[in-house]
């Protein structure tokens, strides 16, 4: 028997919004530590990793490890039927063919129950090494979303350069070129408005804006985002989910083709 009751049902709605356009189907792994998910996007270029710790739920019961193979579009449709302030309960048997979602209004006057069929999904589980990064930038999540969206007007890729005194995002394309520079904040009123740069070595890497724009659909989950970069290693974009978990995106930097091409 698996059962997990989440007081802030709105969080699950936001998680679905943040994943569903990138990943069409995925396995949700439920164990005693919590609910986790790892999935590549359809083109196998990026990876999303979700963790919702068991103590986020009250109660949380997981008699045996269970894998829920879920079509994200279907789950998104169902979760949209919950109000933001509903309590959401997930429930499944130990060898489930379906998962049940229960939405309760705060006043208990309205109870909805949805049962969704599960799928057998053949997914690869990638081992993600725990890694120190050369440059870690914490910034307001809305600012990051805005920069990615703005630079998409200019080009397909963004070059991110992190130095002590600031982080620079640049793009170029047919109509010209553009860049945005953020300086570390000395004193901001709220922690969430701070730009903090933690640097061991300056890095300059290029990323596909197409994928970053998918990642920033998680903006509503957290007021700040942490971007971790090292040379020749995938970028990590992390949104904390309160103190109950996280949503992380991984994207490999683009490689400049300065290798010799066979001449025509």
């Amino acid at each position: 028997m698996f059962e997990a009751r989440l007081k802030q049902g709105g969080t699950l709605k936001k998680v679905l919004e943040a994943i569903k356009d990138l990943v069409s189907e995925s396995n949700w792994d439920c164990s005693s530590t919590g609910i986790s998910l790892q999935a590549m996007d359809n083109s196998h270029v990026s990876l999303v990793s979700l963790m919702l710790r068991s103590d986020a739920f009250e109660p949380y019961r997981c008699d045996r490890n269970v894998t829920l193979g879920i079509n994200m579009a279907s789950m998104s449709k169902i979760v949209k039927c919950a109000n933001n302030d509903d309590v959401i309960t997930l429930r499944a048997t130990d060898t489930p063919d379906s998962v049940t979602f229960v939405f309760e209004s705060p006043s208990q006057d309205r109870v909805s129950e949805y049962e969704m069929k599960l799928m057998n999904i053949d997914s690869e589980y990638l081992g993600i090494p725990d890694q120190e990064h050369e440059a870690v930038v914490k910034m307001p999540s809305g600012e990051f979303q805005r920069i990615c969206r703005d630079l998409s007007q200019i080009g397909e890729s963004v070059v991110v350069s992190v130095a002590k005194d600031g982080v620079k995002f640049s793009a170029s394309g047919e109509l010209g070129k553009g860049n945005v520079v953020l300086k570390p904040t000395v004193n901001a009123d709220k922690e969430s408005e701070q730009v903090v740069i933690d640097l061991q070595e300056s890095v300059t890497l290029t990323f596909a804006l197409r994928y970053l724009n998918f990642f920033t659909k998680a903006t509503s989950l957290s007021e700040s985002v942490t971007i971790s970069m090292s040379k020749d290693v995938p970028l990590v974009v992390e949104y904390k989910i309160g103190d109950i978990g996280y949503l992380r995106y991984f994207l490999a930097p683009k490689i400049e083709e300065d290798e010799a091409e066979d001449t025509k």
Partner: protein, 222 residues
């Protein structure tokens, strides 16, 4: 819950998919075909696809035995690469290309000899599971024309297209991975003389804008 067990019912089919690639103005284009107006994925666009359950016999057997998550077994890979099966597939693909009043001008479709195996992917529909064995081949430009149910799309059009189903994008991912520079057999093919009809070597495929290349996340993790 007196709910019917949906998982066990799903029918399994193996489809052999061929990604036709032509290079126009230094940009790669990929040939897609429109599905029929009704039925599964009605009107959606997909790569050239033919049923090929003969490839999957060992796969299906193993799957039923273990009742666990499958990873394409070695035997299936061998099936997909076997010369006999290659011949059967080429015949089936050629049949599709020659069909209809809008047949290609080159009915022999000799370029099919150069098709190369990319790998396998699966897609689960509500009551149906497809295993795709994917192949790709480069076609000389303008050999295969456009018709009302056949088009050439750029990578962007393919990946962003609303009328292109998810499974097509998955299959396309196989091509992206197969063309990573890290793969040694591909590296080799890059040194071989292009446009010559030696089987398996003239693909010269690069994915993404010509200035930079997007590696798969799989080349870093796992």
């Amino acid at each position: 819950f007196p709910f019917k067990k949906a998982k066990k019912e799903s029918k399994e089919e193996t489809i052999a998919v061929l990604i036709l690639i032509q290079i126009v103005d230094e940009e790669q284009q990929f040939c897609v075909f429109q599905r029929p107006q009704s039925g599964l994925l009605a009107n959606m666009w997909e790569f050239l696809a033919v049923p090929a359950d003969f490839l999957s016999a060992p796969l299906v057997k193993e799957e039923h035995a273990t009742k666990k998550k499958l990873s394409a077994p070695k035997a299936f890979e061998d099936c997909c690469r076997s010369a006999t099966n290659f011949d059967r597939l080429r015949e089936a693909w050629g049949g599709v290309l020659s069909a209809g009043p809008q047949a290609s001008q080159q009915p022999q479709h000799q370029f099919l000899a150069n098709a190369r195996y990319l790998g396998t992917t699966k897609h689960v529909f509500s009551h149906l599971k497809h295993t795709y064995a994917a192949y790709s081949v480069e076609v000389p430009p303008n050999t295969i024309g456009t018709t009302s149910t056949r088009r050439w799309l750029s990578q962007t059009q393919l990946m962003d297209g609303a009328a292109v189903s998810t499974n097509v994008k998955k299959i396309f991912g196989l091509l992206a991975n197969a063309t990573q520079p890290s793969k040694p057999q591909d590296q080799q093919s890059r040194q071989s003389p292009a446009r010559k009809s030696a089987p398996k070597t003239n693909s010269k495929v690069t994915v993404g804008p010509s200035a930079s290349k997007q590696p798969s996340i799989k080349s870093f993790f796992g």
